[in-house]
């Protein structure tokens, strides 16, 4: 369902509908932006977000338009104005496996877990391989990002890459196109860490992606109807049109408690130094398999 169809319901006044049509129209004509639009359409036809909240978001977008010059900034302004309301707006779902996986650059993990910056990466990898740095180093620390007192979503995946050893392959399947090299770290952690805190795991949604000003839109909502459920990464392996990647979801940051670090497993993938495959948003937006 396209947004243009979705907004034909009484909750949207004609003035709001008119603003949304103009805003939606601004996302036309450039492949990159049409890919954004595709995700917005999928948000309309899936039920990852409670419809009342999604409707409210669209009304806020209409209210922001055209204060911001740039169509993505319109969404960001709407999220920033109500950052608590639009933090993790997705509905909770229940993954079937008991473990979640998060991927990040080893460099960032070492600074996060030890505070030390400027570390030699092969040495850091060996520390983890040898079990000298483990999940216990995360205890007492916030797992996830908080900036200026504001929470940002923690992106996680299922176990699709649990047997992958090549960092470059993992980078490509995760769609992490901003990474041109380095060591990728896998953090495997129990879903129970979230359950014990009554925290939800939820689908990635459009407001989540714009929350931090992320305009590099290589992320795709599940194309099937229904929800809530996993989103998908864009698999960049073959470049061009891309392919459906691995399931991914979001949760809030949390502080790892005493004794919980032992249940968290760290694994460093093989290093690489190679720019990500070239993607083509024009092909991506017409790729029926994405």
């Amino acid at each position: 369902m396209s947004l243009l169809t979705y907004i034909n319901k009484p909750v949207f006044t004609s003035a709001v509908q008119q603003q949304l049509r103009k805003w939606y129209g601004d996302l036309q004509g450039v492949h990159w932006w049409e890919f954004v639009r595709q995700n917005i359409d999928r948000e309309c036809f899936r039920t990852d977000i409670d419809p009342t909240l999604w409707d409210q978001f669209l009304m806020d977008v209409a209210a922001q338009y055209p204060k911001s010059r740039h169509a993505l900034n319109v969404m960001k302004a709407a999220v920033d104005a109500k950052s608590t309301t639009y933090f993790l707006p997705g509905r909770q779902f229940a993954p079937s496996a008991p473990q979640l996986y998060r991927y990040m650059l080893l460099d960032q993990f070492i600074t996060y877990s030890t505070d030390i910056s400027g570390v030699d990466m092969p040495t850091a990898k060996k520390m983890i391989d040898d079990g000298r740095i483990t999940g216990t180093r995360m205890e007492g620390r916030v797992f996830g990002k908080q900036i200026g007192g504001r929470n940002y979503a923690v992106w996680c995946a299922d176990d699709s890459l649990a047997s992958e050893t090549q960092g470059e392959k993992a980078r490509d399947r995760l769609g992490l196109k901003h990474i041109a090299g380095g060591y990728i770290l896998e953090i495997e952690y129990p879903l129970n860490l979230l359950r014990a805190r009554n925290m939800k795991i939820c689908p990635p949604t459009v407001p989540d992606v714009v929350a931090e000003g992320a305009d590099n839109w290589i992320w795709v909502k599940n194309r099937k109807a229904g929800g809530p459920g996993w989103g998908y990464t864009v698999d960049m392996t073959g470049g061009g049109a891309g392919a459906e990647g691995i399931p991914e979801a979001l949760h809030a940051p949390f502080t790892v408690g005493a004794g919980e670090g032992a249940g968290i497993r760290l694994r460093v993938l093989d290093p690489f130094s190679k720019t990500a495959p070239q993607m083509d948003h024009g092909q991506m937006v017409t790729n029926a398999g994405l």
Binding site: D115, S117, G181, V209
Partner: protein, 231 residues
Amino acid sequence: MAGVVLVEPPVEPPLSQAVRALANLDSASVAEAVWIRLMGDAEAFGLPALHPQEERVAIFVQVYEYGDNGQVNRNLRQACVSLLDQHKETVYGEDLSQRWALGEVCYLSARIQSLNALKPLLEIAFLSRHFNTGERESFLRRVLGSLIGILGSVRGGGPGNVEQATRIFEECLELENCRLLALTGLIGLWPERRSEYLGRVPINEEDLDVNLTLAGFLPLETLEARWPKVR
């Protein structure tokens, strides 16, 4: 009329886009580009858009590591020094985002071996040495960890700097969540005083030696001899 300007986003990889954007700038403008990316508009100066999972500072590390442009790297290092100098007063400010951004610059300084950043880093560490709660304490740890990273790279950094760093680390021994870091700095700078410092503050010695090795103060072989492989 919508008033919206559409710009076709560049299709080149983020790394080459960033190198190209930074190559046109002098170090003062690079500093501005770094600060603006951290504080809000990621794409200022033609830098690549953010990926949803990307740390704002990460592109500069990628440029340094894989951009293969010596002049850009020199400008980035100098930009770190300027930014630390310009924004050190934000240590005491109420703007959490600015303090967070300053912490990111501290990290970047150590990460890209901006050795001239040692002096402003020492000043910032001195100013923040009593931060002991919440976001301020996290900031202090960021600063101390960056300081340790640079001190480990230069194996000290001159008597005056060592003296000042020692004073800061000794004061930070009093802060529970900074003890391991402070000891890493102290024993890194003064390995002959290891027993004395450990007598003052009990700590897991293996964690300490791991930190010393990460910072570059202790050879990996020494760590492995002291603490045989555990898995």
